[in-house]
Amino acid sequence: MPFAEDPAHLSKSRLKSDLVAHNVALPSAASKKAVYVELHLKHIDQKNAADFSSDEEDRADDKKDAEMPVPSCLTDEDLKAMLRKHGVKPGPITASTRVLYERKLHKLLQSDRRERLNEADKAVLYSDSEEEKKQQEKDQDSGSEKQPDPSDQTQKESSQCFLPSSRLAWLFKRPCPPRNTESSSNWNSRNALKSSERSQSQCSQIISTSTADHHTGLGSTVLPRSKSTDDSSLSSQYFSITQMVEEMENSSSRSVTDNACEFNGTSVQENWAQSDRPPQEPVKDAFKDILPGSKTTPTGIYVTRRRPIKGAAQRPVQYSYPDSPVSPMTQQRREVERYLVPIHIQILVFIIVACVLYLIYVNVEGSLSYWSYGEDRLLVQAESQDAEADYAQD
């Protein structure tokens, strides 16, 4: 629907279709254009006015949300502008460079968000006194009306908002902010409830608003919202709030990248309903880790156990280490060698046997010569005897 176009300038058929689109009963077919224009003005323009007012509110929110857009949704020009805002002078954004620049913008946005969170935390701590005064003023101004309803509402919301800090809890918490803002405004106008209820719901509001702001990355809006809703009891409970805020911060630092991807510039609620958009790759692993709820540490810090230090307590230094791993070839060789006689022993046996044989040889040689000598002598004796016998015969 064009904003500023006068219905009188539209054609009859166009007016007809507009009326049908807005579920307005059409006048008789023969009616003049003026009738259509009148109906158009009556119904549609009113509606547009109403829509515009609500759109403005949404736009206000959206503008804030739009500060934290998804890099991949931006046009080239927008991406360039965002990068320039962060002090980067990007080169041409082409097909090949776009991904890189998106990633860079993402990193910059994350670091920005973290800075704003830190600022927000400090602001929450220091703004108690101002909030007390403001709340007291508001309390004096307004009367008390319908206390149970908003309290029930906010209690329900607070129960929702106090879900454990898992990823799913973040998704559930999303509707809190818009509802809470409405109820908070009603609240302030209707005066305070019991301090416990109020503080509880306020805590939830602060947390939800701070989470919403974490989502949107607006630390600056945390201040005005928290100021409008805080109570004197906050000061007594500010330890718990800061703890919770820290928890949220830590969990948001995990999930904020996912949320950033899930946010469009259009509206928070729509995106919350459609939160199926896959997160960007670098965060995918963290997303998968968190979703099954496997490792949800309270601080949100993931630590893998490092190798224990040698010599530390209960880890005495090992001076002898287990056998080094051997290759299959060496293992085979070793097994085979078990059956064979070791080489050293083989050599020793060989030497011993050689010595024995040599000794035997020597002895046999000696004895042989002795025997031969002995035989000679016997022969000689026999010859001499023969000779003597011969002599004797003569």
Binding site: P90, G91, P92, S96, T97, V99, L100, Y101, R103, K104
Partner: protein, 90 residues
């Protein structure tokens, strides 16, 4: 001053002309093949990408990692090589 490889010195010594992408320091056979498959078949095409990224180290390293899976050392070598070439000839 970190030492540069022979490949680096060879590349930086003269205009790259039609040298293949594997002539770049840090780009070996495997990475070169991957780059060629993506269409970066000559060193000057990689130079083109380097210049389009405005000679930014971080962006070029990211791009190199995404495109061919170069590790930190390879990224650094390639970046240094191209940067020095540009300083000398561009």
């Amino acid at each position: 001053m970190s030492s540069t490889s022979q490949k680096h010195k060879d590349f930086v010594a003269e205009p790259m002309g039609e040298k293949p992408v594997m002539a770049l320091a840090g780009i070996g056979e495997v990475l070169g093949k991957r780059l060629e498959d993506k269409g970066f078949d000559k060193a000057y095409v990689v130079l083109g990408q380097f210049l389009v990224l405005k000679k930014d180290e971080e962006l070029f390293r990211d791009w190199l990692k995404d495109t061919c899976g170069a590790n930190v050392k390879q990224q650094g070598d390639c970046y240094g090589c191209l940067k020095e070439w540009c300083d000398a000839f561009l």
